[in-house]
């Protein structure tokens, strides 16, 4: 079994920042299959489509899903109570490739930060750079520290941490690291890919509006060119969400 849709029990639903919620959901079969950078597709009562949410953390029988309320579906999710059952299709997609004995720099922007926690736990002493618009949106800093990461916090408005962008920090630290993994808005990912090009390997996790979540319906398209292949419209849910940055056409 690679993935399945099964019932989970909602164990925790905590508001951890302005409009941002942290779920812990339990199931005996699927969480243990999860790898960092993968996602879960959450069924929401009354909605035709499921909500794809990155996996923030996982152990053998639970998944942590941190999401931002963006529309009606995530609004419903934010109001669910511990004890309720929820159907989740997981784990999905192609995650980060983390190798031993390398110094990783993990970068998250906004709601792109959560998947970097599970990723940090797979790395030895990673450097984690996170960026948020403002201090009310800052999440997971203690979790990263507990995972043994060196953390650098930035905010766009200077209300917490360094006043500036994650890319400013990356430029300074580039000489100290072997590889970069990043998740966040496309302009941020494009800028990170530009900085890393020719210097260190960079993997990026993308977001796209999805349908089935497993690669059958072809709606979450992203133009990519694999290293030794021809360019094609890949499916973010199946070939991604994590790609080597050099494979991705960020503008199309």
């Amino acid at each position: 079994m690679k993935y399945d849709s099964q019932l989970f029990k909602l164990k925790k639903n905590d508001r951890i920042a302005d409009g941002i919620y942290s779920w812990v959901v339990e199931n005996d079969n699927l969480p243990g299959l999860a790898r960092c950078g993968q996602f879960a597709n959450v069924k929401v009562e009354g909605k035709t489509l499921r909500r794809p949410i990155s996996i923030c953390d996982a152990d053998d029988n639970s998944l942590r899903l941190v999401f931002q309320v963006k529309g009606e579906g995530t609004e419903i999710m934010s109001k669910m109570k511990p004890g309720e059952e929820v159907e989740i299709l997981a784990p999905l997609g192609h995650g980060f490739d983390i190798q031993k004995d390398k110094k990783y720099c993990l970068i998250g922007g906004g709601i792109g930060v959560p998947p970097m926690l599970f990723t940090a736990k797979q790395c030895d002493n990673p450097l984690v750079i996170t960026g948020f618009r403002t201090k009310d949106l800052v999440i997971l800093q203690d979790d990263f520290k507990a995972a043994g990461a060196e953390t650098v916090l930035t905010t766009d408005d200077g209300s917490d941490g360094i006043h500036g962008f994650v890319t400013d920090v990356l430029k300074e630290k580039l000489g100290e690291i072997d590889e970069v993994c990043a998740c966040g808005p496309i302009p941020m990912l494009r800028a990170i890919a530009d900085i890393c090009r020719g210097k260190v390997r960079c993997q990026v996790s993308l977001e796209e509006r999805m349908g089935c979540g497993i690669g059958a319906c072809l709606v979450c398209a992203c133009k990519t060119k694999p290293k030794d292949g021809e360019e094609f419209m890949s499916q973010v849910c199946r070939h991604g969400p994590v790609y080597d940055a050099e494979e991705v056409f960020f503008d199309e």
């Binding site: 993935y3 849709s5 069924k43 489509l49 497993i214 319906c217």
Partner: protein, 303 residues
């Protein structure tokens, strides 16, 4: 015990549920959930003569009770389908329907010829895709054009020919009659209804193609009405689709006149929907002493 099998053009389907084209790829992703024999058949992703990249994203938007999509027929081409996908599909113990779309009548005929010598069970003529600039729906919106393409493809097609109708027309019964008169063996209906959603903050349509095809529960009553109208206008069997989400919908659409059904959008919400819908149909048949699916077809008692 009720018998869920149905026979269409002499081809037996193990049950009346067929995966709708475009929602199921070429089956591999769903084989992770269950043996594909859970389905009576699979209508494969629409294929074209040459590979197609499809539309730029976003290709999907959620709506009340449904979705809009504009994938734009991304597919690896008919030759790839026959060589790489069909051999595996034929081992899955389910009926295989090849859904074909083209830019020209010649494209359709060339594909029908290639598929005639393959292992597919049916060819489904897609003349109703609303999401490509040329190809598809321009063949599907008048009696003359539907008649002409059906007649031309039929001459090149040794497989039973299913013609998939667009609901974006004035009188679908007249179109169905034209397809039947010109050689269609089966009607499948309905394809998606053209729709649009706009992001009120950016003023941009959510879908990059601006418009897309509406599917899901929202279109169900439209589909039932159109199937009923066509059932009363033609003698060839109808494979019904459009928003079937639960077993009650399936029974309702059969009563309207469908001989078998295609399900699609519901699979995104619940990949196990076909298992649940078949169980529900079976229970309904047992409780009502119905022995065959065909005993439900067209049994609506109109006022």
């Amino acid at each position: 015990m009720s018998d869920l099998s149905v026979k269409i053009c002499g081809v037996e389907f193990g049950n009346p549920l067929i995966a709708a084209s475009g929602t199921f790829g070429f089956g591999r992703e769903f084989a992770e959930f269950y043996p594909l024999s859970v389905l009576g058949g699979i209508s494969c992703k629409g294929i074209t003569l040459k590979p197609r990249e499809g539309n730029p994203p976003p290709r999907i938007a959620e709506t009340e009770g449904g979705i809009l999509n504009a994938v734009g027929l991304q597919n690896p081409g008919v030759d790839h389908f026959i060589e790489k996908d069909l051999p595996w599909l034929k081992e899955q113990n389910t009926r295989i329907i090849a859904n074909i779309a083209g830019n020209t009548q010649e494209d359709y005929c060339a594909m029908a010829e290639k598929l005639s010598d393959s292992d597919v069970d049916f060819v489904e003529l897609n003349i109703s895709c609303p999401n490509v600039k040329s190809g598809g729906v321009q063949f599907g919106t008048s009696c003359e054009s539907v008649g002409a393409i059906t007649d031309a493809v039929k001459r090149h097609c040794k497989k039973p020919l299913m013609v998939k109708l667009s609901p974006n027309v004035t009188d679908i019964a007249e179109i169905a009659k034209s397809a039947e008169y010109n050689g269609a063996d089966v009607i499948s209906m309905i394809n998606t209804l053209t729709g649009m959603r706009i992001d009120i903050n950016s003023k941009r349509p959510i879908i990059r193609n601006n418009t897309g095809g509406l599917s899901g529960a929202a279109v169900f009553p439209v589909a039932v009405r159109m199937i009923w109208q066509v059932y009363n206008a033609v003698k060839i069997p109808i494979v019904g689709m459009g928003g079937v989400s639960k077993w009650q919908d399936a029974v309702e659409m059969l009563m309207a006149g469908a001989s078998a059904l295609q399900i699609g959008t519901v699979l995104f919400n619940d990949p196990y929907a076909p298992v649940k819908i078949n169980e529900g149909i079976s229970k309904f048949m047992d409780e009502n002493g119905i022995k065959n699916i065909s005993d439900i077809t067209g049994t609506v008692i109109p006022w």
